[in-house]
Symmetry: C2
Subunit: 214 residues, 2 copies
């Protein structure tokens, strides 16, 4: 849980205040959505008065975009770090999923803003789309490598389809994770891993995927 704690009556340097404001904004945007969120509430939760928000971070739209960018960067870095230099397509997928769900579990509000609150929302559609393309590209690249090491599939179009299905499934499970406070990121990752890697046919027969390292 990101803390929105301090609220000391002390004066605070700009860089710190900006982060506090972004924390507050992410929390409020996640709970209310862009339109229903009010600058007054964001300011109050940040422990500051409204004009300060305008002074540091600009209008409501600019503030939302700033939230979007910060959370997207954090998430991408978390996933990339998790995949690291692992070799083998299944291990790569497994580590990527773990990193992703671990991030979502630790930054539920961030994920909510990133996904639910900005998707298709008109002033932010292009911003969101470009971020999503980055993700799709990365996953696509990993899948291409996996294919190259095994055998020929149906072409680049098939890989793109798999990528979209995979990313979509992960996003949806993340949404499920956010709505269930008691759920475990690791377990969620394992469930999706089984489903994605084996497919329904094998899964219905009771098969399970196992990490070579475990």
């Amino acid at each position: 849980m990101a803390s929105v704690q301090p609220v000391t009556s002390k004066r605070v340097p700009r860089a710190v205040r900006e982060q506090q404001m972004l924390d507050a904004a992410v929390s409020v945007f996640a709970r209310r959505g862009f339109q229903a969120a009010t600058m007054d509430e964001i300011a109050e939760i940040a422990g500051i008065s409204k004009p300060m928000v305008y002074a540091y971070l600009g209008t409501k739209e600019e503030l939302f975009t700033a939230c979007l960018r910060r959370e997207a960067t954090r998430m991408l870095e978390a996933v990339i770090a998790a995949v690291g230099a692992t070799a083998g397509p299944d291990e790569q997928l497994w580590n990527g999923l773990r990193g992703f769900f671990s991030f979502v579990g630790a930054h539920r509000d961030g994920w909510t803003v990133l996904y639910r609150r900005s998707r298709g929302r008109e002033p932010f559609a292009s911003e969101w789309h470009s971020m999503r393309c980055r993700v799709v590209e990365i996953v696509s690249l990993l899948l291409s490598r996996a294919v190259a090491g095994v055998g020929g599939p149906g072409g680049p179009s098939a890989i793109e389809a798999v990528t979209y299905a995979l990313v979509g499934a992960a996003e949806s499970m993340a949404d499920w994770l956010v709505d269930h406070a008691d759920s475990d990121p690791e377990r969620t990752a394992a469930r999706l891993m089984n489903f994605v890697w084996l497919g329904a046919e094998d899964l219905l027969r009771g098969a399970t995927w196992r990490s070579a390292a475990g």
Copy 2:
């Protein structure tokens, strides 16, 4: 001279007007979202003045809920009809997916309201949740039957996980379909079918699932 539908016929029976209003509301809510949508625009698109909307369908919240219910009912009926009395787990899944994506392709605005615009939105969260539970229950039931006919899996928890992953993947692909005006529902269904049924492992090797019916 008298046309089939006289243009001067301004007066329209209540039941018809209500459907026109709901059509307009779905379209506007889909484009703008709940907060940003205005009753004035909905009324204008419905070809009527604002007080009529209040007279027939109540407040903005009540209007949105009415849209939600209408579209949800339509979608469930489409999918159930598509699955019909088909036998065999893979054919059931295939028909269900075809019915679902066919509905989404034909009612893009309806799906947008149903999914993007109401998810987690506070006044409508419970409504949305109960509708989703109906879907999950139905899919779960189908999967259980498939398992019973083949062999024992890991228990009800495993089925629930597969169900959530499957429903989530379908929802996400539907979202993708909505954003790509030129895309084909049938093709989308086939792509998801391959991914879901075979799993990434088989898919990366170039395998494809084929309907037994040809």
